[in-house]
């Protein structure tokens, strides 16, 4: 049972990460792959505040999320003013830099990782309660992303992504919007990191490196970028599949390479057979039903094809 609960927690965290990442690279079209570093900031800030300063865990978690959001805004502001590609470079640089700092500072436990992180909820409420918390958080993230992407704000986002000049011409502030979306997505990642840290009680810088970026990107791309359920499906699939494989009784000599091939294999297969991902995004922005007449969305879709 503990096994399934832990798996559910990991899937929940991945769903939140993939979903918020989708908001940044998908809906807002901001090219950044540094999502894991905000996950790391949330985890480390929350863990250190709770462990060394004795802050109550929920408060520490909130601080972790805020720290991640603040850090992301600090990265985004200068780079977004220049142009889109600079964000990619700046964010990768930020990711490498922060992880390097974590590895070399003694308070973060250095390269060996941070141990003795205080636990939260598990003693009082049990693991099931924690899993419920994480799943509720993941559900809330998906819902918020859906609301943002398919509401009026989403229409503005979509316009900004498709033609920034025209968007600015309408008198809208593109930079403010980009920074806000980036900070919101990163804040979610930070909270996910905090939730990870207080359950697993050990974090190490290596788990937030570029490889993690690649895994997240795979989740979003395989699931379907710019869709509500695509990243969710991608996250569930890529967390559950490697686990499911271990239940097929394979000899270790095959099991290892098979797991290694899984991610790259999936990406290759999808690139050729289904580049749009498991769930395909519509060609044009379409609102949630609440905001529009059905005819509007049907008509635009028809025209786009």
């Amino acid at each position: 049972m503990d096994y399934l609960i832990t798996l559910a927690i990991l899937i929940g965290l991945s769903v939140a990460l993939a979903s918020s990442f989708n908001l940044i690279i998908g809906y807002a079209g901001l090219v950044s792959i540094a999502h894991p570093v905000f996950y790391a900031i949330g985890a480390y800030v929350s863990a250190l505040l709770a462990r060394d300063l004795g802050l109550p865990v929920p408060l520490a978690m909130l601080c972790g999320a805020l720290a991640a959001a603040a850090a992301s805004a600090a990265v985004a502001l200068p780079s977004l003013r220049v142009s889109g590609d600079y964000l990619l470079i700046a964010s990768i640089g930020f990711q490498l830099g922060v992880l390097e700092a974590i590895k070399n500072i003694s308070v973060t436990g250095g390269a060996g990782g941070l141990t003795n992180i205080p636990a939260f909820l598990v003693q009082d409420g049990g693991r099931g309660a924690y899993a419920a918390l994480v799943i509720a958080f993941a559900g809330l993230t998906v819902w918020l992303n859906w609301r943002i992407a398919h509401g009026p704000y989403g229409r503005a986002l979509s316009a900004m992504r498709d033609d920034e000049t025209a968007f600015a011409g309408l008198g809208r502030n593109a930079v403010a919007m980009k920074v806000a979306v980036f900070a919101f997505g990163s804040g979610i990642a930070g909270l996910a990191g905090a939730l990870y840290a207080h359950y697993f009680r050990f974090v190490t810088p290596e788990q937030f490196e570029i490889l993690q970026s690649a895994a997240l990107l795979t989740m979003v791309v395989v699931g379907g970028v710019r869709t509500t359920w695509g990243p969710v499906l991608g996250a569930v699939l890529l967390q559950a599949l490697p686990q499911a494989i271990t239940f097929v009784d394979l000899p270790p000599a095959i099991l290892g390479p098979l797991q290694g091939l899984l991610f790259t294999g999936l990406v290759l297969v999808f690139m050729v057979l289904r580049p749009q991902g498991l769930i395909a995004a519509g060609e044009a922005w379409h609102p949630a039903k609440k905001y529009s007449a059905k005819t509007y969305s049907a008509k635009t879709r028809g025209e786009a094809r």
């Binding site: 590895k103 797991q259 290694g260």
Partner: protein, 387 residues
Amino acid sequence: MSARAAAPLSRRALVAGTLAMSLSLAGAARAEEPLRFGMAMPLSGGQATYGQDQVKAAEWAVAEINAKGGVAGRKLEMIVLDTRADPQSGIQAANRLVSVDKVPAFVSAWSAVVKAIAPVANDTRTVQLSVGANSAEIARLGDYTYTTFPLAAVDITAVANYAAKEMGKKRAAVLYINNETGTVAAQIYRDVFSKAGGQVVAYEAYDPRASDWTGPLLKVRAAQPDIVHIQGLVADTPQVIAQMRQLGLTMPVSSYSAVYNPKLIEQLGKASEGVIATSLAPGAADDPAVAAYLARWKKEIGREPNGLPYTQYLYDAPYLVAAVYSGLIDKKLPLTGENFRKEMLAIRTFDLPLTGKLTINDDHTVNKTVYLMEVKNGAWVKKAVVE
């Protein structure tokens, strides 16, 4: 071969055994489920070449124990899971072993993985046996994490003392990889060497992803040491030594157990002459059992194992587990993690086939003989033995 794949056949054998025993009025209750234990090792990813060889060694041991009649008439079964040497995958593997397979004990390795798993082991009162990780912190991870492998302090202390006292070196340079393995061990070397009367004249870290070490090596050259201790990983240390020789640094080089590997000589050729490494297990020349084991590798796999001493420790792990199980069954105690831990500490000293005597100390450490090895004429030769 997975221990599980052989299960249908063994069950039939067990049924036959049960029948035979009940006929002879012996206790039929004996032939129950196999005795399970877990093994969480990297089978994929960058460390897989080592993980897979280590798992193979453990599989051989399990097969041998079962061929000799198992443990108190019951078969030993090893459940192998992949950790990719990654903490998060390690936690998942451990959770799976503890809550699905319900093992009272499991084997793991790689320092970051062992540390990540420790809370799982403590919470569920399941014994984690770290076999091969050497971070000093492993001794302080709680009541349910034990190591059968000597932690960094053991061999680094030996090699630093040997340099200062036996080789008479006065000025050492320490070059280390900036990760868990490197930083902790480098500190130990510096402390021990200074205490033994030497002076550490250069203390340089390098990035784990580096492929060029000219900067730190030039600093080392400027400090004019008479011995250089390199604390790196299997993959980078040979390259560091190669660059060091190219830059004209000819002083002796020492390192630790990860470097004691045929690959070092293969990769470096002549430049490997005089490199000193440590081995924490007896070699083929010290023990006929090790010679036979090595011969089996060459015969069945066609090569030597990657990281021979580590595979020896892994080969011995199922024997230790079997000994504890045997004790529990003799005492008719339920096979829980708590009882496993108590029985293991009650037995305390184990005599293992490929690594010799092992005593588990109260502070979660073990002491072992350190063999100092040196490359001479293209082969590893034993230089000294430090008890």
